[in-house]
């Protein structure tokens, strides 16, 4: 716990834990029996933590979703799969590093895994472009979708991206078109597709991998049409209003489950995935296996119809 840099709202917890540590040291050094006091304090700290983490505001969740120690796509791949074989490139001149994909085994089940990758260090972030894919990344993903479809491999997409990259070259090579084509082609796949939003799921950049039969979110992940900062700067004309935009946009897993946009929420350890990677990875794995089991009963046509019906229902309007 100590190795982590605390977020602003977590500082009080760290202070309490420091105090507990001090008391323990004191009791050891002086031999005074403080066990009872320590025990009460630990219990109180636990209660406080549970209360704090179960009442997080959307902007606090946002900080957890973007935490620099939060496990990334490749971390999960190494924790939940064996025999991972990465497949590179769009076969047209580029290997975008922000979207990665490959085949692997999850407990005897062969799968195609595709995800957006963020780095933990500056060097890594430069390599992965902060998890912001170029059009070529989406085209690589499409190639892998089609590969999986040919060989009947269930596809798992794991998403953590602040959005598709906005740049000159990205516009020249058709960022919008690359995403649009993926949305349309995902609808035609006859193999099950399961999406999990791991951290940030921003805008078309996330959706470009997420027209899935089942969509799940990690508890503290977010899924939104635009980043709260972007929304604030457009609607309020000030990026400082991001907190309020985060509230208004309804970006948390609970909100999206209630709105029927996702199919379920995957539990994270108290405080967020970065406090216990293994536990998060295990929960993730269980959900993926359960969904594959459910979806593999369907025929190719049923898979397509299931997906069509799922998205066909989305939207709220008045007809009169």
């Amino acid at each position: 716990m100590k190795i982590l840099t605390p977020l602003e709202f977590e500082k009080s917890i760290y202070q309490i834990e420091d105090k507990i540590e001090e008391l323990k040291n004191l009791s050891e050094e002086t031999g005074i029996d403080l066990d009872n006091q320590i025990k009460t304090l630990v219990e109180q700290a636990q209660d406080y933590k549970e209360q704090l983490y179960s009442n997080l505001s959307p902007s606090q969740k946002l900080q957890i979703a973007r935490h620099s120690k939060r496990p990334t796509f490749l971390d999960y791949v190494s924790m939940i799969t064996t025999d991972w074989v990465e497949m590179h490139g769009d076969r047209a001149g580029t290997d975008d590093r922000a979207i990665m994909g490959g085949i692997a085994i999850i407990e005897n089940q062969p799968v195609m895994l595709i995800g957006t990758q963020k780095g933990k260090t500056t060097k890594e972030n430069l390599e992965y472009n902060f998890g912001m894919p170029q059009p070529e990344g989406y085209r690589k993903a499409l190639r892998l979708f089609n590969h999986a479809n040919r060989f009947n491999l269930p596809i798992i997409t794991l998403i953590d991206t602040p959005g598709a990259y906005p740049g000159i070259k990205a516009e020249q090579t058709g960022q919008g078109i690359a995403i649009a084509v993926n949305l349309c082609e995902m609808a035609k796949l006859e193999t099950p597709l399961i999406t999990v939003i791991l951290g940030e799921g921003c805008s078309g950049g996330a959706l470009g991998l997420a027209v899935a039969n089942r969509v799940y979110m990690l508890e503290h992940a977010l899924y939104t049409v635009i980043s709260p900062e972007g929304c604030a700067s457009i609607l309020w004309r000030s990026a400082d209003m991001a907190c309020i935009a985060a509230e208004s946009l309804k970006i948390t897993s609970d909100d999206l489950l209630r709105l029927g946009i996702i199919d379920g929420v995957i539990k994270e350890p108290l405080g967020g995935a970065h406090y216990d990677w293994e536990m998060t990875a295990n929960n993730l794995k269980q959900q993926i296996l359960e969904s594959i089991k459910e979806l593999s009963k369907m025929s190719g046509n049923e898979i397509k119809t299931d997906k069509y019906d799922k998205f066909r229902k989305m939207g709220v309007f008045v007809e009169r």
Partner: protein, 296 residues
């Protein structure tokens, strides 16, 4: 110049014109005259209208609304609107500097439209087509649940009737006030187009000034054939966002129809006056295949 500055400048220009004219005479001359945003020529509104809202001097294509577009493109009296009884609601109770409900009311008054798209069945030189025509005047042509639903129903209708489907876009992107529900409209419309693809029903998109964000990244660019109207600005990310990200000035022709043609992103750039004839030609060439599909 960023999109925002451009709008501000344009508004200021319009105000100035109105102000000067009101001084000259008591009449509301701004109702009769328009100024070309490109070459600043004063143009009589009647002439401009006759010229399909294209400047006769410099060929600048003015942005036009859905109703004008329908009037220009479809055989007289042939366009029958469908699904005009679908209205937006406020599922997220969204409030920014103004309540979403109030924004809807304002947009309706300003644009005289119920939502940002008109859908219907019409004829282009006697060829029956299903068409969705967007209007930037209603909340920047943004796509929320209503736009998504109307476009999807139209595509389904076009597939059922086995007639070509045409989408004419003009949109700033997904509607933020409906957040993820708007995002899902991208998926919904794209799933419907997947069906049109599989059924061999021709789908043509015409990208007009301006087409951005969620519409570019969904049904806007999924056309079997993509036409961009001359001078239209089309892209995924907005100019300002890109400038802020890369901290560079962008070339003047960046994200124009002609720029996209150069980089292989659209099939062609069309002048407004040639659009109807081009659509007819495309439909005629594909008509054999469409009929064959019907006998499948």
């Amino acid at each position: 110049m960023s999109l925002k500055d451009w709008f501000a400048k344009r508004k200021k220009k319009q105000l100035n014109v109105a102000l000067v004219e009101s001084k000259i005479s008591g009449d509301d001359l701004s109702k009769l005259w328009d100024k070309c945003y490109n070459c600043n020529t004063q143009l009589p509104k009647k002439d401009l209208e006759k010229n399909m809202f294209v400047c006769p001097k410099c060929d600048y294509h003015f942005r036009i609304g859905a109703k004008t577009r329908i009037f220009q493109l479809f055989d007289e009296g042939s366009f029958q609107e469908i699904d005009c009884n679908i209205y937006p609601s406020n599922p997220l109770e969204f409030v920014d500097t103004m309540c979403y409900k109030k924004r809807q009311d304002e947009a309706r008054t300003k644009s005289k439209l119920n939502e940002a798209v008109i859908t219907g069945i019409g004829k282009i030189n006697n060829w029956e087509v299903a068409a969705a025509v967007m209007d930037f005047a209603y909340m920047g042509g943004s796509m929320g649940s209503v736009v998504g639903e109307k476009v999807t129903r139209l595509i389904e209708d076009g597939i059922k009737r086995r007639i070509p489907i045409i989408a004419i876009t003009s949109s700033g992107g997904a509607r933020m006030q409906e957040s993820c529900l708007s995002l899902m409209q991208m998926a919904k419309t794209s799933c419907a187009i997947a069906r049109a693809n599989e059924e061999g029903v021709l789908y043509i998109t015409v990208l007009t000034e301006p087409t951005f964000g969620g519409v570019t990244a969904s049904f806007g660019t999924l056309g079997d054939i993509i036409i961009a109207e001359q001078g239209a600005r089309i892209g995924f990310a907005g100019r300002r966002v890109i400038e802020q990200t890369i901290r560079q000035k962008l070339p003047a022709d960046f994200q124009t129809a002609e720029y996209l043609l150069k980089y292989g992103q659209v099939d062609m750039v069309s002048k407004r006056k040639d659009l109807k004839e081009m659509l007819e030609r495309l439909i005629r060439i594909h008509s054999g295949a469409l009929k064959q599909g019907a006998n499948k």
